[in-house]
Symmetry: C2
Subunit: 296 residues, 2 copies
Amino acid sequence: MPPLECVPNVSEGRRPEVVARLVAAAASIPGVRLLDVSSDPDHNRSVLTLAGEPGDLRASLLALYDAALQDIDLRSQQGVHPRVGAVDVVPFVPLGDTPMEEAVAAAEALASEVAERFDLPVYLYERAARRPERTRLADIRRGGFEGFPAKMADPAWTPDFGPPRVHPSAGVTVIGARFFLIAFNVVLETADISVARAIARKVRESGGGLPAVRAMGVYLESRGRAQVSMNLVDFRQTSVLTALNRVRQEAEALGTRILESELIGLMPEEAAVGVVREALQLPGFGLDRVLESLLR
Amino acid sequence: MPPLECVPNVSEGRRPEVVARLVAAAASIPGVRLLDVSSDPDHNRSVLTLAGEPGDLRASLLALYDAALQDIDLRSQQGVHPRVGAVDVVPFVPLGDTPMEEAVAAAEALASEVAERFDLPVYLYERAARRPERTRLADIRRGGFEGFPAKMADPAWTPDFGPPRVHPSAGVTVIGARFFLIAFNVVLETADISVARAIARKVRESGGGLPAVRAMGVYLESRGRAQVSMNLVDFRQTSVLTALNRVRQEAEALGTRILESELIGLMPEEAAVGVVREALQLPGFGLDRVLESLLR
């Protein structure tokens, strides 16, 4: 198993030819495995899942930044997902027995090189954060691309790397290290974004809801539906099924229902096995009860 | 992947030392992989899951019959599960691209050798059946060990192999070939077996319930609970989650509820992935969205 995963989120989900160029750039480094591309026109965002050695991933990400800075101009980019950069956020995730320190070191090395090569302000977040108030992505991202020049005028928001001025077309970028996160969106029958927002407030940890759950409500123009968009930052604390069931309960209380769900990126095997165990009320279930898993 | 799976069901689930001897006998053939042992004291039955080449599996099964005939005497064996033999039923299941014909051939070769070596009447069932009325296991098993001498007096029930008389201690045995089957039991809160039986009648295909579902209600002495015991003979027609949800609905209508479930033997990966897809309302979910699966 490669030691690190890297999950760059880029602010482009509408122009397939641009997404293809970005993906091709990231995948151009031998040794880096492209595991998934999840692209969404309403969020106007694509999430790539890469895995490899730290040096190879750094080369892959530098190629991605290069392509993104050529093709994405945030002054004309709009989507329902909050963003501050053309390459918005780049988390490194330790796989298998890799220590978190290795993911932090990969984030720092990339941050330094991105700042120098592209003259781009870089913020380090989560486990790579150098100031406690920069731990949470939501705090760094508050105000968005449009609000960032004013935000950066405050010395509290001087970047960790790079110039203290927002890049005109590419904004800033947020790089960090964290544990595996499951990005899971639930599409509602209603088109009313206020319903999705009310559900998100009930479900998320910061509103007294489920532990390790972040949520926001958005409107999907392309489908004419509202969506609860969630990040499950510790699926051992709150599983995907528990989060879905809670959304269903709140949706029904507000007179709507769930149409379907979407997974952005990947789910770890342990989370999938946990869903089977929970859904089937099968306490003893594990991979040792799956035929192909035993035969491998 | 080995070409065949074989899932012998033996009529012993209470004496661990006997189960251990049976398992050791079946596992004594190099090349045969023992994938699972599920043993239940109330059913007084153990289900072994083996995989290997036809010749190796035949040797393994002959060793198992030999051990079972020494250790099991149906005249003193009682359990909630219907049975006609010490080695009650032995299905061969094709794995991967193996044609069903290979499983049928394995069943026929074993049937012939078991009859000759142990002087035991053998019935071929399911895809190996030689008469249409012997296709369904339930039809062969009707009357049980105790009723079989009278049943065999009818020429319609002359065995396919072996002598036309019931073995005094080991009864008869049923050997065959079929596709993968999921054996799934649901434990109810109630101790009332009539409730479990009523649910089973509603849920099973023969009662107008779910397609490809067989079900019976039993009482679990060791737990003081009633159980709906199911065989899902085509999980693509009716998934484990659909079957469970239907049991839950019928249970609630009868004023009881589900405590937990049990899987007997194994589940194929595709069935587990299907449960995740169904439980999470995630139409696009597959192994290509599971991190470890992509990294293998």
